[in-house]
């Protein structure tokens, strides 16, 4: 099991040498009654033998969450090497968002941009969103989208952004949710800059299908934790029965590259 401040690096019993969760949340949202702390994340990661995780807020900066950058930066500073910051932004506030993203990546070591079109009311193919994704690409960090079943978050919607930003890496968080998983694989086949992330989506066999269709280098493990269990989400990859090489890539190898950890 991991300790709280160092990464797990043993390669025990054929397990992946590094386990990275690409999707966790930190924030307290009083209106929803949701409380997710850095400590909650690390506790869940330890229980699942996860070495490190990408963490982001539940609401968007600027707007609902004016302290979002500091919240994530402080969490990452408290757990160096365990938590990697993603900045969740609202492209509607484009100039402010661009300034914040530059600051976060170049000064604070953030590793990615998070976008949730449902909460920002910004279509993935909209001009502001595309400009922000392109900036993330120029800064060398990926963009993680919420990609589920709601309007503006479906794979076909996000494919508009992928087509407009071929030099930026875009991760489809939840890889299409409950009912859009096949479409997520379809658009990933069409756009090589798309990566599929496994969290919350409930079908282990779809992970195996995704690996077969787009290759093990373009599928990454995530949990949507800490309230979605990293231990359970990791079991989904185990049940997918990918084989050692592909499983190592999905569970951590690919994320290490995306996060610039290698």
């Amino acid at each position: 099991m991991s300790t709280s401040t160092s990464t797990r690096n043993e390669d025990d019993e054929g397990e992946a040498s590094v386990i990275i969760d690409m999707h966790m949340h930190i924030e307290e949202v009083a209106s929803l009654g949701w409380k997710m702390s850095a400590e909650d994340c690390v506790r869940a990661m330890d229980a699942a033998d996860v070495d490190s995780a990408a963490v982001m807020t539940l609401t968007d900066l600027p707007g609902l969450n004016p302290q979002g950058l500091e919240l994530i930066a402080d969490a990452c500073a408290a757990y160096p090497g365990r938590l990697h910051g993603f900045l969740r932004l609202n492209p509607a506030h484009l100039e402010t968002s661009k300034q914040l993203l530059r600051q976060a990546v170049t000064e604070l070591g953030f590793k990615g941009l998070k976008l949730h079109p449902v909460s920002t009311l910004q279509h993935p193919g909209g001009a502001a969103t595309i400009e922000l994704i392109r900036l993330a690409g120029e800064l060398g960090v990926p963009t993680l989208f919420h990609c589920g079943d709601e309007p503006m978050s479906t794979p076909l919607s996000i494919a508009e952004a992928a087509a407009a930003c071929p030099d930026a890496t875009i991760i489809l968080g939840h890889m299409g949710g409950y009912f859009h998983v096949e479409e997520a694989m379809d658009v990933a086949e069409q756009h090589p800059n798309l990566i599929l992330e496994t969290s919350a989506m409930p079908y282990p066999d779809k992970i195996r299908t995704a690996v077969e269709r787009i290759g093990p280098e373009r599928v990454v493990f995530g949990s949507d934790g800490p309230v979605s269990s990293p231990s359970l989400e990791r079991q989904k990859v185990v049940i997918a029965d990918l084989g050692t090489v592909a499983a190592d890539l999905v569970l951590g190898g690919n994320a290490a590259v995306l996060l610039g950890l290698t």
Binding site: L32, W34, H116, V118, H146, G148, D149, E150, H174, G177, Y178, F179, S199, A200, M201, P202, Y203, P204, D205, D224, V227, S228, S229, S231, L232, Q235, K236, I239
Partner: protein
Amino acid sequence: MIIDGLIFLGSSHFGYALDPGPALAGLDAVGSAVALAAPVHPHRGDFAKANATVAAAAAEAAGRLIPLCRVDPWDGTDAVSELRRAVGAGARGLFLHPAEEHFRINDTRVRPLVEAAAELGVPVVAAAGYHLVAEPLQLGAAAGWTPDNPFVLTNGGQFNISGLAQFDAELALGHPNVHVHTTGMYREDFLERVVATFGPERLVFATAAPLFTMAYERQRVELAHFTDAERDLILGGNTARIFALEEAA
């Protein structure tokens, strides 16, 4: 005893299939002793034939498959008649799928079926979470027609990968006869909150195989933070009580 609260048997019009042999093998593989079995949506909509096929499979399964009767409310009084026939032949519940049969669960034309189930003393199981036809509060409204008869919602009463449907699902659970399946519910905190807020009697393990994966759905309950007593109820005790399986045996 571990009881899977719902599996589907047959070859569906919508492209998925599970035969009794593989179903029993799947139950064995994950340690489930018994499953409630509903027919899939049959080709050409012959629900009476589908119900008879599942009943026959159950009769040959030595008590391991418990049949649920599935009907299409658009068949009107014929659907009610088929429910009465199937329950008379041993079906232990009414299964309704608003998305696959294209009806709104709280449409008044569904009410005679729900009321007939209550009169017959068998619970209702409803496929939940489908936008427009099986939203949590629509399901709660239908459950309110027969407040003394159990009304079981699949997959936590919701399908939403932003977590935003759980609030309406909890409102549906405000109806004391509503219970929810664990299937596919990615928010572990929701499952745990159902137990903490509404009691362990309201949460029911199910896999909805072959739509979901038995091994993974079993892990969903094993890894959540329940007491042993709570887990015993969730994994089988609740289904045995709700569907009166001991009495049936």
